[in-house]
Symmetry: C2
Subunit: 425 residues, 2 copies
């Protein structure tokens, strides 16, 4: 089948151009068109990582996770994730088939792929990470592409970031690639990340697939701690349709090659030298998560929901997600309707503590509800005019406590229905 032809228009929120990113010493990519499902585009990516690259990962909590996710979980555990021995040498990603719910054949396909990648990268099996994205339940014929891995390894280069970001796309309308450079102990280090959406996107994990690479010498336990911490407030605070993928995979690789240029090796997450790197990583992950929301299937609006006055960050997040995942809120935004009553409804259904008679809501700077009822100076005209903006900010104060959270999402449109009512057939 050809690449979905339902809607090839590009998200209005796509960056004007794909980011130029620096090379990261110790990371090489190669991609090719293996014809796994799509025709006329790349669908297979191999990343090679230099010896000693530390790896960390956060994986979907789905009970029906893909064979590739199971492999990563076992491999990270075997490599003693969270210890300094968690090392990776190769990452293989394919699009077009999720290899999820494929039983024994799926596990066999994973082993076959890992074996071929280990041979190509001349590394151990447990130094290979895998990710697959695409249709669920379709048996994956790994032999369709495993013979290509050796050739990819031979041609891998340090500058194929754009190609790598493109090869992992499914219904994404644009590749998502971000970069940061930050000082680590007097030496500049780089972080590059790319990821894909764009449907079946909801927290725990929300990323579908996201990969981050850095030359900073960060020990695996420290990398794991940072990755897990910031996943909570970035990828796990972003939702498109509330549907959690079987394949969500976030991996971070630290080659440590900047050590030769003088960057200090960080083995303790309390090391004060880490602060800048940690902030840059958090910031990079936030940008990546926002790019996924900005490419939500069929979207016409990008929406930021700020929940304040909650009992805890967790409560604020759940309230924000209840708003973000409400079909009625999402369709109202699509219709440019300032129907804030539906936000009241969503707060009410979240199950988290909220003080009905203190609830306040604003769209951007326009106050619409105050002290549990319509704001005294509410102007339907002003609110309706605000809703015409492509980027909408919804601020909710639930009047209970001091905690807050921010959630990113998009609207629910005819485009989403069109894309998803015939994605597979």
């Amino acid at each position: 089948m050809a690449q979905p032809d339902h809607d090839t228009s590009i998200s209005p929120f796509a960056p004007a151009q794909l980011a130029d990113v620096p090379q990261i010493s110790g990371v090489r990519f190669a991609t090719c068109a293996a014809g796994i499902k799509y025709q006329g585009r790349t669908d297979l990516m191999l990343a090679l990582l230099t010896k000693g690259t530390a790896v960390a990962g956060v994986l979907t909590k789905s009970k029906t996770c893909s064979a590739a996710v199971s492999w990563c979980r076992e491999t990270l555990a075997a490599g003693a994730a969270g210890t300094d021995h968690a090392q990776a040498r190769a990452l293989v990603v394919n699009s077009g088939n999720a290899n999820a719910f494929t039983g024994q054949r799926g596990r066999d396909a994973v082993k076959l792929t890992a074996r071929a990648a280990a041979d190509a990268a001349q590394c151990d099996l447990d130094q290979v990470l895998l990710a697959s994205t695409g249709v669920i339940g379709e048996p994956m014929q790994a032999e369709k592409f495993t013979h290509l891995l050796a050739g990819l390894a031979d041609t891998a280069t340090t500058d194929h970031w754009h190609e790598a970001a493109r090869a992992i796309m499914t219904t994404d309308t644009f590749p998502k690639l971000c970069t940061r450079t930050v000082d680590l102990g007097g030496t500049p280090v780089h972080l590059n990340g790319f990821c894909k959406g764009a449907g079946m996107i909801a927290p725990d994990m929300a990323t579908m697939l996201a990969f981050i690479f850095t030359d900073a010498p960060i020990a695996a336990p420290v990398l794991q701690e940072l990755l897990a911490r910031y996943a909570k407030t970035t990828f796990n605070c972003m939702t498109i349709d509330g549907d959690t993928s079987t394949s969500d995979t976030l991996l971070a690789f630290a080659t440590g090659t900047a050590q030769s240029a003088g960057a200090p090796k960080i083995t303790n997450s309390a090391d004060p030298q880490l602060a800048g790197f940690a902030e840059a990583l958090h910031d990079l992950m936030r940008e990546m998560a926002i790019l996924v929301a900005k490419d939500g299937e069929g979207l016409t609006k990008f929406v930021t929901i700020n929940v304040a006055g909650a009992q805890s960050w967790e409560a604020a997040r759940i309230i924000g997600l209840a708003i973000a995942n409400s079909p009625l809120v999402k369709t109202a935004i699509a219709g440019e309707d300032p129907n804030w009553g539906r936000i009241v409804m969503a707060v009410g259904k979240s199950g988290e503590a909220a003080e009905r008679d203190k609830l306040a809501i604003s769209f951007g700077d326009i106050e619409v509800a105050h002290q549990g009822e319509r704001a005294p100076n509410y102007s339907e005209t002003a609110a309706a005019a605000y809703m015409k903006n492509p980027e909408i900010e919804i601020n909710v104060d639930v009047g209970i406590g001091e905690a807050s959270a921010t959630i990113w999402t998009c609207d629910l449109t005819h485009g989403y229905i069109t894309i998803n009512a015939d994605y597979r057939s």
Copy 2:
């Protein structure tokens, strides 16, 4: 504003004709067009109940419930719901305004309405029940209709069931009225119920508004126990969009007038004479809930989801709701796409125990997945042909235990987007 003119076509699942229901001695109705929001249709209903009518209720769990729901909760508590002293004499329902998130003005509107109804029905304030449905956050001007209640009381008759079922509608495309007659201790007793949907429909409570009337002499505590028990497996197993209303209200009224014809007074839920009545009530509630799902906004398919092999009924229900509320499952059904991989995803995201490698899925009699992978004899042609049916049955066995649950829902279509992207403006 005129009645929503976005889509006046009637659900394909509307019964061929509105049920003819028997009168229930002790229950009278009157309706009128008060012009609360809609023009050219009735929007106010008064039900008068004879002295000694027992009442029971199940109300939304929303933290931002409407003023009318708060009133019912307080009134049922004041009337000692669950004791034999819970009595009702009047029920006032308006459509067009939910009187939710309207602060002190909302509470004032409720008091004004209850006072006028108590005067009209010549009863105490705490014998009046109220329900409102429509837009949230719009101040309700009760004085627009309270002066009409005395006139309604004067003209109320025992045969206005169709009129009552119509007056409470909002985006419903057909009125929903059901009836049962059952033997109680040798005497036939009647149960009539009507309800409304058709968006912002999700469990806890899922009914929006539902009212049940019977002449059976059932004491309030028994009625309350039955109503709460069966709400779990009927209204709370039905979902349209996963959005929980601020106004969901299920009330049951037992006039007890069949006692004069010989029906025994039931004061103990363990009374063996109650069995037939209880079964009829459960059956009536199931039919009402299914009618709401069959009028889901914009639906083209009615969907029944049977989950088996779960750890408990609660787990089976949560898994069923995860499937029923998944936008990706709902759009696949709309697209007549047998995309069972999305059902695997929904099971995985539910958070309930499921054995990935034992999971089995069928559409009607067509097995699509078996032992955690695509069924060996899977036929895409047969599955795709099945999806053309207007009524779809999805059977899932999660391979853990013995418990099961059934959920009713509908598909997610362009029609839903059209209706909800401009319901209010």
